[in-house]
C-alpha cells in the first residue's frame, strides 16, 4: 500500500508539472495582457502599462515567465520566504485571492454537492425499487430535463420566481382557495406516485396527501406562519419522536424483536428535546463552538442511550439513537433559523431572498440572523447546482442498484427468508454504493474548481469566478493558481478513489 502511494505521488508530481507547463503556455498565448490598458487615453496610460509589464514580467519570454512562476510556487513550499503565487494584472498578490475564492467556493459547492448526493441517492434507490413505474418515468424525465438545461437559464428563472416573485409574495403572503387546491392536488399526486400500489391504495394516498397539504397550508397561512414562522420546542419534540420512529423503521424494522431500538430512539428524542430546552438561553447568543458542541453532545447522548437501553442489539440501537440525536440537533438549528426570520425580514427591507452576493453587509441581530442570511444567499445558487448534479447521482444510483438487485446473493438472501427491508438496506444498498465512490471522489475534486457559471451569475467570488475572470482578462497568475489547486486536487482524489475502491471491494488489490 505504502509503495503504491509513494509511486502514485511521484508520478502525480510530474503530471502536475507537465500540465502546468502546458496550461501556462496556453494562457500566455491566449491574448495580450496589456489589451485593456492600450485602449486607455489620457495621462495615466504609461504608468499603468509600465507597472503591469513589471509585475507580470512581460518583457521576458514565455519560458522565462514560466520559470518565474515556478519560483513563486517554490517560495510557497520553501519555509521563510514570502508566498504570493505571483501577482495579478493589478500587481496584487494572488495568494489572498485564492484563499478567499476557496473559502466561498467551499461554502457554496460543498453544501450543494452533499445535498444533491443525498437526494440523488435516495431518489435513485426508490426509482430502482419501482422500476418502470410512473414515478420512475417521471424522475427519469425530470433528471434528463435538469441535466440538459443550461445553468444560466435555470438561474434566470430561479431569480425571477424563487427570488423576485417569492419575495413579493412573502411581503404579503396569501393564496386563493384555487391555488391552495392546486398545490394540494400536486402534492397528493406526488405522494401517491411515490408510495405506489394499486388503484385503491393510490386513491387513499392521494386523498390523504391532498387533505394533509391543504389543511397544513391553510393552517400556516391563517396563523401567519410565513410572516412570523414558529416551530418552537414543541415542534422539535414532535418531529424528533417522528424521526425516532422513522429511523428505527428504516434501519431495524418495527418488529417485536427490535423493540429496544425503538425504545432507545424515542428516549433519545425526548432526552434531546429536554437538553435543547435547557440550553435555550445559552443558544440565543450561540457561536460555532457551542453549536458544534451541542450537536456532538446530542449525538453522543444518543449513542450512550442506545448502548444502555439496547440490550443484546445495543450496537444497532446506539447507531440509530445517535442518528436521532443528530436529527434533534438539526431540528434545533431549524427552529433557531425560523426564530431569526422576522429580524432578517426587517433588515432586508422585506425582501429576504437575494439574487446576488454571499452575505448582507452590516447585519445586526446576532449569530442566528447571520446564519439565516447565509442560508438565504445560498438558496438560489444551491438549487441551480443541485438541479444539474442531482440528475447524475440519480441515474448512477439507479443503475447500480438495479445491477445489485439482480445478483445471485440477493436472491440467496431472499431465499433464506430475510425480509424485504433487510435485503434492500443491508445487502443491496451497501454494495450499490461502491461504484458511486469513484464518482463522488471525482466530484469532490471538482468542487475545488468551483461552479463557473453559477458563481458568476450569483456574484460569488469563488474559484470558478477567479478562473473565468483571469481568462477573460488574460491574467496568467490567477489562472495558474486555479490550475495548480485543481490539478493537485484531481490527482489526489483520484488516488483516494483507488484506495477507497480497494478497501470497499475486497476483490481489488493495489500494487
Amino acid at each position: 500500500m505504502l509503495v503504491f502511494i509513494v509511486r502514485r505521488l511521484v508520478v502525480s508530481f510530474f503530471i502536475v508539472l507537465a500540465s502546468t507547463a502546458l496550461t501556462f503556455l496556453l494562457v500566455a498565448l491566449s491574448g495580450n495582457p496589456l489589451g485593456d490598458l492600450l485602449e486607455l487615453r489620457g495621462p495615466t496610460r504609461d504608468a499603468k502599462i509600465a507597472l503591469r509589464t513589471q509585475s507580470l514580467h512581460l518583457n521576458s519570454s514565455i519560458p522565462e515567465r514560466y520559470v518565474y512562476w515556478l519560483q513563486d510556487v517554490g517560495r510557497c513550499i520553501w519555509p521563510g520566504s514570502e508566498c504570493t503565487l505571483g501577482y495579478n494584472r493589478d500587481s496584487k498578490p494572488v495568494l489572498p485571492m485564492l484563499q478567499t475564492a476557496i473559502g466561498s467556493t467551499l461554502r457554496l459547492v460543498l453544501v450543494a454537492t452533499v445535498l444533491a448526493l443525498v437526494l440523488g441517492v435516495v431518489t435513485g434507490v426508490i426509482t430502482a425499487l419501482r422500476q418502470y413505474s410512473v414515478f420512475d418515468y417521471i424522475v427519469t424525465f425530470v433528471a434528463f430535463l435538469c441535466f440538459s438545461l443550461p445553468v444560466f437559464f435555470v438561474s434566470t428563472l430561479l431569480k425571477q420566481y424563487v427570488a423576485i416573485d417569492l419575495n413579493t409574495w412573502l411581503g404579503n403572503p396569501a393564496l386563493s382557495y384555487g391555488a391552495l387546491a392546486l398545490i394540494s392536488i400536486i402534492a397528493g399526486l406526488f405522494w401517491s406516485l411515490l408510495i405506489g400500489g394499486g388503484i385503491r391504495r393510490a386513491g387513499i394516498v392521494f386523498a390523504a396527501g391532498f387533505a394533509a397539504t391543504f389543511g397544513m397550508l391553510y393552517l400556516l397561512l391563517v396563523t401567519d406562519f410565513f410572516t412570523s414562522p414558529y416551530f418552537g420546542i414543541v415542534g422539535v419534540g414532535i418531529f424528533s419522536i417522528a424521526a425516532a420512529v422513522g429511523w428505527t423503521g428504516l434501519f431495524s424494522g418495527l418488529s417485536q424483536r427490535s423493540r429496544p431500538v425503538l425504545t432507545s430512539a424515542v428516549a433519545t428524542a425526548v432526552a434531546g428535546t429536554i437538553v435543547v430546552w435547557v440550553l435555550q438561553k445559552a443558544l440565543n447568543n450561540a457561536g460555532w463552538l457551542l453549536l458544534i458542541g451541542t450537536t456532538v453532545g446530542l449525538l453522543v447522548l444518543g449513542v450512550l442511550i442506545g448502548r444502555v437501553l439496547g440490550g443484546q442489539i445495543g450496537k444497532l440501537a446506539g447507531r440509530v439513537s445517535g442518528l436521532v440525536g443528530f436529527t434533534v440537533a438539526l431540528l434545533m438549528v431549524f427552529d433557531r433559523l425560523l426564530q431569526a426570520y422576522p429580524a432578517l425580514f426587517a433588515a432586508t427591507q422585506r425582501r429576504p431572498v437575494p439574487t446576488i452576493g454571499a452575505s448582507t453587509p452590516n447585519l445586526k441581530g446576532g449569530f442566528w440572523v447571520e446564519q439565516l442570511d447565509q442560508v438565504m444567499h445560498l438558496i438560489l445558487p444551491t438549487l441551480a447546482i443541485m438541479l444539474i448534479s442531482f440528475a447524475g447521482y440519480t441515474r448512477y444510483t439507479r443503475a447500480s442498484m438495479l445491477d445489485v438487485m439482480g445478483q445471485d446473493y440477493v436472491r440467496t438472501a431472499r431465499a433464506k427468508g430475510l425480509n424485504n427491508r433487510t435485503v434492500i438496506v443491508r445487502h443491496a444498498f451497501r454494495n450499490a454504493l461502491i461504484p458511486l465512490a469513484t464518482l463522488v471522489a471525482f466530484d469532490f475534486a471538482g468542487i475545488l474548481g468551483g461552479a463557473v457559471v453559477t458563481e458568476t451569475v450569483f456574484g460569488w467570488n469563488g474559484m470558478g469566478k477567479l478562473f473565468t475572470d483571469a481568462l477573460t482578462n488574460v491574467d496568467p497568475n490567477p489562472a495558474m493558481a486555479f490550475f495548480l489547486i485543481t490539478a493537485i486536487a484531481t490527482v489526489i482524489f483520484n488516488m483516494l478513489a483507488d484506495i477507497a475502491y480497494a478497501y470497499l471491494d475486497p476483490r481489488i488489490k493495489l500494487g
Partner: protein
C-alpha cells in the same frame, strides 16, 4: 387579495382557472380589489429626476415618460441604507497610484475624498467651496493659491493642511526617484503614481507645517491647471506608516520633503504606493484607522465584495443624507434582476445594450432610468502615413463619402438612446456643454453627413488608384458590434470602388501601433474631459496617432492650446483644429457610445453622469424611501 404575481410558477395557470372558487387565505385582511400585480400608478412629481442638460444633449428620461419614474413621497421616512452596484471592486483607498486608479475607485472617492473642484455631469468644473478655495493669482508664471477650509479635518480629527498638500506634490510631480531601474531600464519613482500630468510642471510649494494655504507655481503654462485641485491623501497616516512622527502638523514629513531626504521619501512613497491597497474582491479591509476620510462619508467595513461607508461625523460641510452607503459587486449581466429584487438601488452599466433598456422599460414601477450620450465615442481611423493606403487626401475623402455614418447611429446607438446623434467633432462630445456652440462654428463638419457613392467614386477615380482599392479593415475580434459595423461599411464602400477586407484582430491596439499592418480600423476612445489630453492623438508623432497623420496647422494649434490657461479660450482655439481635421480628414467619427443610469424607484437624487465619476458623484444627496 389573490395571488400577487406568480409566486409559484407552475401554479399560476391553474390558479387562474380555479380562482373562480373565490376567497383567499392569509395576507393583508383588507379586501383589496387590486387583482394581480402591484403596479403603483400614483401620480408623481418627478422633480427629483432632473437630467443634466447641456446646451445640446438632453438625455431621455426612462420608463417612457408616461410615469416619470420617481414615486418618492418627500415626507416618507427614509431608509438607512442605499446599495450602489459596481462591476468591479475598487482597488484601494488611494485611487491615485497606478494599481488602484480606475473608475470604480473614483465611485467611492466621490463621497469619501474632498477636493477643491467637482466635475459636473456636463464636464464643466465647479469649485467646492466647502473644502476650500483657490484663485489664479498670476498668468506668467501661472500661479494658483489654494486655501483649505479653516475647519477642514480628516475623519480622525487631524487638520487638513500643508503636509497633505506637500505630500500630494511630492507624489504627483514625479520629482523623487529611488535611484533604482526597472526591467526596462527606466528610473523607478519613489511614488508609483498613475499620472504626473500637470503636477510635473509645478515647483515645490513653499510653506511650513500647519499652513492652511499653499501656492502652486507652474514652470510652464498648463491648460488643465484647474483639474489638479484634488487627490489629497492623509499625510499623517503616510508619515506614521513610514516610521515618521506626525506631531506638529506633520513637521517631520514636511522637513523630509523640503530637504529632499530621499531615503525617508522612498519609505513614505512605498506606503503611498501599496499600503492603501485593498485585497482583490474585497473580502475585508485594511485597518480602517489608516483610511480617514475628507468627505461626507468614511469607509467602515468590507465583506464578500461589499464595501460599507458610514457618515463621517467629523465632516464640516453639508452632511450626507443617508446613514449608510453600500457598494455591492454585481455582474454586468445580472444587475437588472438584482435591482428588481432590491439587492442594488443604483447602477450605471459600462456597456448598456438595447436588450437591457427594454428590460428596464418593462418595469416602470420598480426601476427609473435615464439614457444619454456617454463620454466615449466610436470612430474609424485611417493609415494616412506616407506609406499608408490613405495617404492621398482624395482617398480619405472618398472613403468618408461612402461610410454610412447616419445608418450606424441609427443601428448601433439609437436602440439604447433615442436622442443619439451623428458625432461631428473630435475634441468635444454631445454630452459636454460646449458641443453645440463649437459645432455651429465648424460648418465643414457636415460635409460627410450623407452617403454619396457617385461622389466617392469620382474622387477615387481622380486619385488615380487601382480599383477595386484594397482596404484591410481591422477591429476587435471579440466584438460582434464592430464586425457588424465593418459589414455596413463594406456594403456601401465596395460600390464606390473600394474592396473592404474584413480583418478581425484579437489584439487591435498592438496591430495599430505597428505601421503597415492595417489600413482602416474602427475602435473607441473615451474622453477625459481635459483640455490637453487629446494632443497625442492628433499631433505629428503622437503616441496614439496610430495612422501617422501629420498636419502643420493641427500641430501649431495644439502647441498653443496646451499652453493656454483659460479653458474658454482654449475651447475657442480648438475651432480651427476641428475645421482642419475635417478639411484634411483625420478620421471618421461616428457617434458617442450611449450610456444608461438606473436606480430603484424608491431612491431619489441620482442623475445620469457620463463622466468618469459615474452615478455616485452626488450619492451624498440621495435618499431612499423606507416604504
Amino acid at each position: 387579495m389573490k395571488i400577487r404575481r406568480m409566486s409559484i410558477a407552475a401554479v399560476v395557470v391553474g390558479a387562474m382557472t380555479l380562482s373562480a372558487c373565490g376567497g383567499s387565505v392569509g395576507g393583508d385582511s383588507t379586501p383589496s380589489s387590486t387583482p394581480t400585480t402591484s403596479t403603483s400608478a400614483e401620480p408623481t412629481d418627478g422633480s427629483s429626476t432632473e437630467t443634466p442638460t447641456g446646451d445640446t444633449s438632453t438625455p431621455t428620461e426612462g420608463s417612457d415618460t408616461a410615469t416619470p419614474s420617481d414615486t418618492v413621497d418627500p415626507n416618507a421616512p427614509i431608509a438607512d441604507t442605499i446599495n450602489i452596484g459596481l462591476e468591479q471592486t475598487p482597488g484601494g483607498y488611494n485611487c491615485n497610484n497606478s494599481a488602484s486608479n480606475s473608475v470604480y475607485c473614483a465611485y467611492v472617492d466621490n463621497v469619501t475624498q474632498g477636493a477643491f473642484i467637482r466635475i459636473q455631469p456636463d464636464g464643466t468644473i465647479k469649485p467646492d467651496t466647502e473644502f476650500g478655495t483657490y484663485e489664479k493669482t498670476s498668468d506668467d508664471p501661472l500661479t494658483v493659491k489654494y486655501t483649505f477650509a479653516d475647519n477642514a479635518v480628516w475623519s480622525d480629527g487631524t487638520p487638513i493642511d500643508f503636509d497633505d498638500a506637500l505630500l500630494a506634490w511630492a507624489a504627483y510631480s514625479g520629482t523623487f526617484l529611488t535611484g533604482k531601474k526597472d526591467d526596462a531600464g527606466n528610473d523607478v519613482s519613489a511614488f508609483d503614481v498613475a499620472s504626473t500630468n500637470g503636477w510635473s510642471q509645478v515647483k515645490m510649494p513653499e510653506g511650513k507645517a500647519g499652513d492652511k494655504s499653499f501656492t502652486m507655481v507652474f514652470t510652464d503654462p498648463y491648460a488643465d491647471w484647474e483639474s489638479l485641485g484634488s487627490g489629497f491623501m492623509p499625510a499623517h497616516i503616510a508619515a506614521e506608516q513610514a516610521g515618521l512622527s506626525s506631531a506638529d502638523n506633520g513637521a517631520a514629513l514636511v522637513k523630509a520633503i523640503q530637504d529632499k531626504d530621499i531615503d525617508t521619501i522612498t519609505k513614505v512613497g512605498a506606503f503611498w504606493s501599496t499600503g492603501w491597497n485593498y485585497q482583490v474582491n474585497l473580502p475585508s479591509l485594511p485597518d480602517v484607522k489608516l483610511l480617514p476620510s475628507s468627505g461626507p462619508y468614511q469607509v467602515d467595513n468590507a465583506s464578500d465584495g461589499n464595501l460599507t461607508l458610514k457618515k463621517n461625523p467629523k465632516y464640516w460641510g453639508t452632511p450626507g443624507k443617508t446613514d449608510t452607503l453600500v457598494y455591492k459587486l454585481v455582474d454586468p449581466a445580472e444587475w437588472v434582476q438584482a435591482m428588481s429584487n432590491g439587492d442594488i438601488d443604483a447602477f450605471d452599466p459600462s456597456n448598456p445594450t438595447a436588450d437591457v433598456v427594454s428590460q428596464l422599460k418593462a418595469q416602470p414601477d420598480k426601476i427609473s432610468y435615464v439614457t444619454g450620450d456617454s463620454l466615449s465615442f466610436s470612430h474609424i481611423d485611417f493609415d494616412s502615413s506616407p506609406q499608408g493606403a490613405f495617404h492621398d487626401i482624395k482617398v480619405r475623402q472618398a472613403f468618408l463619402k461612402c461610410i454610412p455614418r447616419q445608418e450606424m447611429v441609427d443601428k448601433f446607438a439609437k436602440p439604447v438612446y433615442d436622442g443619439a446623434q451623428l458625432l461631428e467633432l473630435r475634441e468635444f462630445l454631445p454630452a459636454q456643454a460646449s458641443y453645440e456652440g463649437i459645432l455651429a462654428q465648424v460648418p465643414n463638419a457636415h460635409d460627410y453627413d450623407t452617403v454619396d457613392i457617385p461622389g466617392a467614386k469620382a474622387l477615387l477615380d481622380s486619385a488615380g488608384v487601382k480599383q477595386p482599392y484594397d482596404i484591410r479593415f481591422t477591429y476587435a475580434a471579440t466584438s460582434s458590434l464592430r464586425a457588424d459595423q465593418v459589414q455596413l461599411v463594406k456594403a456601401s464602400c465596395d460600390q464606390a470602388g473600394f474592396n473592404i477586407i474584413d480583418t478581425p484582430d484579437p489584439d487591435v491596439f498592438t496591430t495599430l501601433s505597428s505601421r503597415g499592418q492595417w489600413d482602416a480600423a474602427v475602435f473607441g476612445w473615451s474622453g477625459s474631459g481635459l483640455v490637453a489630453s487629446g494632443e497625442s492623438i492628433y499631433v505629428t508623432g503622437g503616441d496614439q496617432n496610430f495612422g501617422g497623420y501629420s498636419n502643420a496647422t493641427v500641430d501649431k494649434v495644439w502647441k498653443e492650446v496646451v499652453r493656454t490657461v483659460d479653458r474658454a479660450k482654449a475651447d475657442q482655439m480648438k475651432v480651427a483644429l476641428e475645421k482642419e481635421l475635417w478639411a484634411d480628414p483625420y478620421n471618421a467619427v461616428l457617434y458617442s457610445t450611449p450610456g444608461v443610469a438606473a436606480w430603484s424607484s424608491k431612491v431619489s437624487g441620482p442623475v445620469f453622469n457620463p463622466t468618469q465619476y459615474g452615478i455616485s458623484w452626488n450619492a451624498a444627496t440621495w435618499t431612499k424611501s423606507a416604504e
